[in-house]
């Protein structure tokens, strides 16, 4: 799975969790807190859904460091099994 595929999956999860955001442009540089309607609890929901989707676990201590969509993608890529 490529990084672009991962980013696309993140967007899909976000739009599923927050249907009001459907259509909003999200890029790697989108800052989750300031540029989306996702609050800290919403972020927990998104991460949990992504963990289930990719069958990975991102340690909770790392969550605080994930500020942008690209950060989330990096954290997922790092934990995906190598092809």
């Amino acid at each position: 799975m490529t990084r672009q595929d991962v980013i696309q999956e993140i967007k899909t999860v976000i739009f599923n969790c927050f249907p009001d955001m459907e259509g909003q442009e999200l890029t790697e540089d989108t800052v989750i807190n300031t540029e989306t309607a996702i609050d800290s609890m919403g972020f927990v929901l998104v991460i949990c859904k992504l963990e289930a989707l990719f069958d990975i676990k991102i340690p909770e201590r790392q969550w605080a460091k994930l500020s942008t969509l690209g950060d989330v993608a990096d954290a997922i890529m790092k934990r995906l099994p190598k092809a």
Partner: protein
């Protein structure tokens, strides 16, 4: 029941109801007798270590709670640390509070160990909680197992739990509301406390443990309700540590769940007033406490059994707020005709967020101003999130980029929830202070 110390509480239930479940954590359940025995054994080992101050990098687990009680019984000072806080801040806090032993995630303990100190004298019984501020202003509040036990009794006198109840503890134990109302409240009533399995399990802890009671902050309640995560066995929700929209409380009540609202501060070992029936915002004063209002409406609290000893190593800060045994809260309130307390606002430059944390605006705004290189900024609360108002030439993308390192260092709930760029200068008073209320009114 009213207990003087943690040890008295654990011993009492171990002797009178030895087989009753005390704590659950995932598939593990321990009875009061098992808990007391384990705690005593661990306390004996800690005594032999000759360490004096335990920094607890709390993960809310069964082992964490056991360590906490054991260290207290062993006569150690305990410092409640947030394991998710940035390492640089944790190192500062360890040194500030004289920690000489750490408990927590092995890797984190190893990383932080070089910051350990020589320990402390006369720390016995003390438990230090940090005010939910940001960085430099974070102060350690000196509470004791005695004040915390009294606080738990104070709350349970108004809202008793039964031994058949299960209290789900979802909040961090490093937050005094989570500690007292998520843990001690249940144990002091001989109810079973189900320990939440971390933020990852917010989505399934209610279904897993089937609690009858939960204590939550407004943000978490909103999340649980929106995602329809509350279980049908739930009878009582205690909401505290932040402003809660009426719609949320009404929606919970409409589900047949009793909702109570609590008001208190870290400095008073948690709750001093609580709503029991009827209007959830109309709160009765807890039995050990006396609340009066200053001329300007500021809430003043006398809580002889629950009051903090002071801020750790900050006597000047203590003297500013604790005057002749009366705590000046900085909150504004009023009493209704029945003598019940209503919270009406804040006097200090503090934003109280719905996740129970606080932002000290002068410090927060100074950090943002430094990151952006301009003083033409202000922060207000909008939709329970901090909103940056910026007057200047930069665009939102550039502002976000400049603020990213600062925001990443902050707890997620305290990060900016949005940016508004305005063309006109910020409204200021004749003395140059920002007219925050004017910005807030504009929304």
């Amino acid at each position: 029941m009213r207990f003087d110390h943690f040890e008295d509480m654990l011993r009492h239930w171990a002797e009178t109801t030895p087989d009753a479940p005390a704590l659950r954590y995932g598939a593990r359940t321990v009875s009061f007798s098992q808990l007391f025995e384990t705690v005593q054994q661990r306390a004996a080992l800690l005594r032999k270590s000759h360490k004096t101050c335990l920094g607890l990098l709390s993960d809310g687990s069964l082992d964490c709670v056991t360590e906490l009680f054991a260290a207290n019984i062993a006569g150690m000072q305990i410092v409640m640390l947030d394991e998710n806080a940035p390492s640089v801040l944790l190192r500062q806090l360890i040194q500030y509070t004289d920690v000489d032993l750490l408990w927590g995630d092995e890797d984190l303990v190893e990383e932080l160990s070089p910051a350990l100190t020589q320990g402390v004298e006369n720390g016995s019984g003390k438990i230090l909680f940090f005010t939910s501020g940001t960085t430099e202003r974070a102060k350690a509040v000196i509470l004791t197992d005695h004040s915390l036990c009294q606080s738990a009794w104070n709350g349970s006198a108004k809202l008793p739990l039964a031994p058949e109840d299960t209290l789900l503890c979802l909040l961090p134990l490093g937050h005094v509301f989570g500690f007292v109302c998520g843990l001690l409240w249940g144990l002091s009533c001989c109810a079973c406390v189900a320990l939440g399995r971390g933020a990852r399990h917010y989505i399934d802890d209610c279904a897993y443990y089937k609690p009858t009671t939960i204590s939550v902050v407004p943000l978490l309640l909103g999340f649980l309700m929106k995602q329809k995560l509350l279980n049908q066995e739930l009878k009582l929700i205690l909401v505290g540590a932040g402003d809660c929209p009426p719609a949320l409380l009404e929606a919970a009540a409409a589900m047949g769940i009793r909702v109570s609202f609590g008001y208190g501060l870290t400095e008073t070992s948690s709750g001093v007033a609580i709503s029991v029936k009827g209007d959830p915002y109309a709160m009765e004063i807890c039995p050990d406490d006396t609340i009066t209002l200053a001329e300007d409406g500021e809430i003043l609290i006398e809580a002889p059994t629950c009051m903090m000893q002071g801020y750790y190593k900050r006597p000047e800060s203590t003297a500013e707020v604790l005057i002749n045994g009366v705590f000046h809260t900085g909150d504004l309130g009023r009493f209704d005709e029945e003598g019940k307390l209503h919270i009406t606002g804040r006097k200090k430059d503090i934003l109280v967020l719905s996740d129970g944390t606080k932002i000290f605006l002068p410090e927060y705004e100074a950090a943002i101003a430094k990151a952006l290189g301009t003083n033409e900024i202000a922060v207000i609360l909008q939709n329970n999130k901090p909103l940056l108002i910026y007057s200047g030439e930069a665009n939102e993308q550039d502002l976000n980029k400049a603020l990213l390192p600062l925001m990443t260092e902050l707890p997620r709930g305290q990060r900016l929830g949005g940016i508004r760029i305005i063309e006109e200068p910020l409204p200021r008073t004749a003395t140059g202070k920002i007219k925050r209320w004017e910005l807030q009114q504009k929304g």
